[in-house]
């Protein structure tokens, strides 16, 4: 099997493994968070502008640039970040990494890159799914929450958004996916052999992954707002 084929097969395996796991979790979370976003926006906009027609476009913009990538990727940190860290830790402690090195198999192309590329692609896809789920969820309840008809809500939905908002969200998803998977592999590969170490590594991977996402979100938000506006 050539290197390129082997990489593609490993990549597809990882995409399936982590993507299918995350699909239902992210979709379920999107349904709940969409409702909360509309409720909170309605509270604030009612107070500040006394005009609820501004709520759908504000909420859509916030979902595309912030909540879509942020929540989907945070969920993926606990799903696949912890799994990658513990898998790497177990491989390291049972000397499977050393065995691969002895066989002259590149760890980067056999183990590290397939996971990082898969997590990056999955985060982009799940960000898109989360955005769609949240928007559908808040549109579905807006007649009760805002007293506006579905036609009116759908009509004003993208009034404050542009394609750049969607691109911002997807870029954030890609950055988040790349960073948490890299952190998980790095932490998992640290030396340590006991069962307590495996648990600690998974915990560290989750915590540092989430923290990295929060910091990156701040920096990327600032950069993108100045870049696109």
């Amino acid at each position: 099997m050539t290197g390129r084929w082997r990489f593609s097969r490993l990549l597809l395996e990882q995409l399936y493994l982590h993507g299918i796991r995350g699909l239902w979790v992210v979709l379920l979370a999107a349904i709940f968070t969409g409702q909360v976003i509309i409720a909170e926006y309605a509270y604030h906009i009612r107070y500040i502008m006394h005009e609820l027609t501004f709520v759908p476009p504000f909420a859509t913009s916030m979902i595309l640039t912030q909540f879509g990538p942020l929540l989907a990727c945070m969920l993926m940190v606990s799903l696949s970040g912890a799994a990658i860290a513990s898998e790497t830790g177990l491989m390291r402690s049972t000397e499977q990494w050393d065995a691969l090195k002895l066989e002259h198999i590149s760890l980067w192309s056999f183990y590290i890159w397939p996971r990082i590329v898969a997590c990056t692609c999955i985060c982009i896809a799940l960000t898109l799914l989360n955005m769609a789920g949240q928007i559908v969820s808040f549109v579905a309840i807006s007649p009760w929450e805002l007293g506006l008809s579905w036609a009116k809500v759908i009509d004003t939905l993208f009034d404050m958004c542009s394609l750049s908002d969607l691109i911002q969200g997807l870029c954030k998803g890609a950055f988040f996916g790349f960073s948490y998977s890299s952190i998980a592999i790095f932490i998992g590969a640290q030396p340590g052999h006991s069962s307590a170490d495996v648990g600690k590594r998974s915990t560290q991977a989750v915590v540092l992954g989430i923290f990295a996402i929060i910091v990156e979100d701040f920096l990327l938000s600032y950069i993108f707002i100045h870049l696109f506006n």
């Binding site: 979790v25 379920l28 979370a29 709940f32 968070t33 409702q35 909360v36 409720a39 909170e40 509270y43 604030h44 107070y47 500040i48 502008m49 504000f58 913009s61 916030m62 640039t65 912030q66 942020l70 929540l71 945070m74 969920l75 940190v77 606990s78 799903l79 912890a82 799994a83 513990s86 830790g89 177990l90 404050m160 069962s195 307590a196 495996v198 648990g199 600690k200 998974s202 915990t203 989750v206 915590v207 989430i210 923290f211 929060i214 910091v215 979100d217 701040f218 938000s221 600032y222 707002i225 506006n229």
Partner: protein
Amino acid sequence: MINLRQETIQLKTFTLELASRLFRPHTQHWNMIIIGTLRMIRTCLVMVILSSLFVGGILVVVFQHHISFFRADSILGAFASSALLREVGPLLVGFLLSGQCGAYVASEIATMKATDQLDTLSSLGLSDMDLVIVPRFVSIFMATTFSLMLSLAGGIVGAYLVAASLYDMSIYFFFSKFQWLIQWSSLWSGFYKCFAFGSAIAFISCYTSYTAEKSVQGVSTAVQKTAIRNMMALIILDTFTTHTFRGLMFVLKYFGVLS
């Protein structure tokens, strides 16, 4: 189907046992609870403060962009702080704490189980529930609730620092619309969420690790399960607490308790 049935029975047994022991006077365990709480707060303090500063910063950067459409910069501080108190602060920092405190304790208890330490306690005639689970449950609950409340204050400080450094906003200008937009109910809503999230993280972490498999694989599975269950619980609870708090406010206003 069998797994679901087993899980339901395990959950019921654990909940009843925890509830029955939680409200018994365990005066001899107070030192364990206090030490555990302080240790957990110390573990997560730096991360909580740093992440809450950044969460406040994110809200200011994003809301400044939105508010600039309406030239209403004076409400930026109050708008960002209100969103932080009511919603975003407890949720995002709760995610971090579900990993920091929840998964940390889950890995500790699951490791004790994998290395037969819990069985040793039982063979000595001691209750693992009394000595390990209940003190940790109370410790996580107190540590996460305290940390979440601290994160609310940290978030407002972070929001002000970003507003001052990036948008040249004075402290007076930042806080000028606080009294107008932020009501006591916003603060109580935040505290209510902190309390609910703290309870959920404590319960899920203890339950998942106590019912983990006795193996190295079991430890890592318990940590992963704890992290994802905690996050899903926080998201579902977030919706639940938002709606129940709104209902409560409506009832209180209806009966004239609140104006």
